[in-house]
């Protein structure tokens, strides 16, 4: 279920906050309202009718910050900050 926050919702299915992974890349998978703008670190998406977004990020060894923002045309914005640790 979408997580309400203000008037726009943002849901991140993967990765989980504080996840520790052993690969140098991680898939960020989530959902937001159709037509909303989502940025995941330096990647930008215009969310389609399926409300899904997905991108693959490269990780540095050690702790990494994943910053996900979603906004709508009215200027409503919500965000999530996740930390993911890459342990080779």
């Amino acid at each position: 279920m979408p997580e309400p926050s203000g008037t726009i919702w943002l849901q991140v299915l993967s990765p989980q906050d504080e996840a520790v992974v052993n690969t140098s890349q991680v898939d960020v998978i989530g959902a937001a309202p159709a037509g909303s703008v989502v940025s995941v670190n330096d990647d930008i998406f215009l969310v389609g009718d399926d409300q899904q977004f997905k991108t693959t990020l490269s990780l540095d060894e050690g702790p990494n910050l994943i910053e996900i923002l979603a906004s709508d045309e009215n200027g409503n914005e919500t965000s999530l900050l996740l930390t993911v640790t890459y342990e080779p």
Partner: protein
């Protein structure tokens, strides 16, 4: 005969004393890893955090341990975090500790202050002390912003100014390659277009440099 008995008694006494002193000496912890401290909540919490860290590590001398929390103290030699469960953990800093400040290249290790959130990746040295391999500061707010408005000025490759629904105007620098979405509406980017601009929250020396522009469909 009396002399012989006296020396025998003396020898046995010395041997007994030696054995007894060794027995007392070995009753302590030879590695000194567990030292009962004051029974304060803080001390108990720290001890609990260290115990948990050791449990998480499995191999306390070889595996990295990760801690996320709020900086409660920091100096040139160590950083102390208050963890989510209220416990605290102190990790040593060294010249090899890597500092990360996502989205804030202006920050320096001396910029880390109590109250900031941070993630620490640490490893235990031969003495069992935690030493930080990396410290990453977690920003209180996202390092980027999404700004929605109507374009009031646009100079391709140079700058773009928008006015939001409250009448505030924002000017952004266009430098290098930016992402225009959706590609089929890139040609409609002009004065009057409704856009969302993605840019760093904190201005760089050259102004707020646009990362991307999303052009929304024209409203009838």
């Amino acid at each position: 005969m009396h002399k012989y008995r006296f020396f025998l008694f003396l020898t046995l006494s010395l041997a007994l004393l030696l054995v007894t002193s060794q027995a007392f000496a070995s009753s302590g912890n030879p590695q000194g890893q567990h030292t009962p401290g004051p029974n304060t909540p803080g001390a108990r919490a720290t001890e609990k955090a260290n115990e948990r860290a050791t449990q998480q590590a499995g191999n306390p001398h070889g595996k990295h341990e990760n801690f996320k929390g709020t900086v409660s103290a920091i100096d040139s030699t160590s950083i102390t975090l208050t963890l989510r469960d209220g416990s605290s953990v102190t990790v040593g800093l060294s010249a090899d500790t890597r500092m990360k400040f996502p989205g804030r290249p202006d920050l320096r290790p001396t910029s880390i202050q109590p109250g900031m959130r941070a993630m620490v990746r640490a490893i235990r040295d031969q003495s069992g002390n935690l030493i930080a391999r990396a410290v990453m500061v977690i920003p209180g707010k996202p390092t980027k912003i999404h700004r929605v408005g109507i374009v009031t000025e646009y100079m391709a490759g140079s700058s773009i100014t928008i006015q939001d629904k409250n009448g505030n105007t924002y000017t952004f620098t266009i430098s290098g390659e930016i992402k225009l979405l959706p590609p089929e509406r890139a040609g409609t980017l002009a004065v009057g277009a409704r856009v969302t601009i993605i840019a760093p929250r904190d201005p760089a020396s050259g102004g707020v440099i646009v990362k991307g522009i999303v052009i929304h469909p024209a409203t009838p």
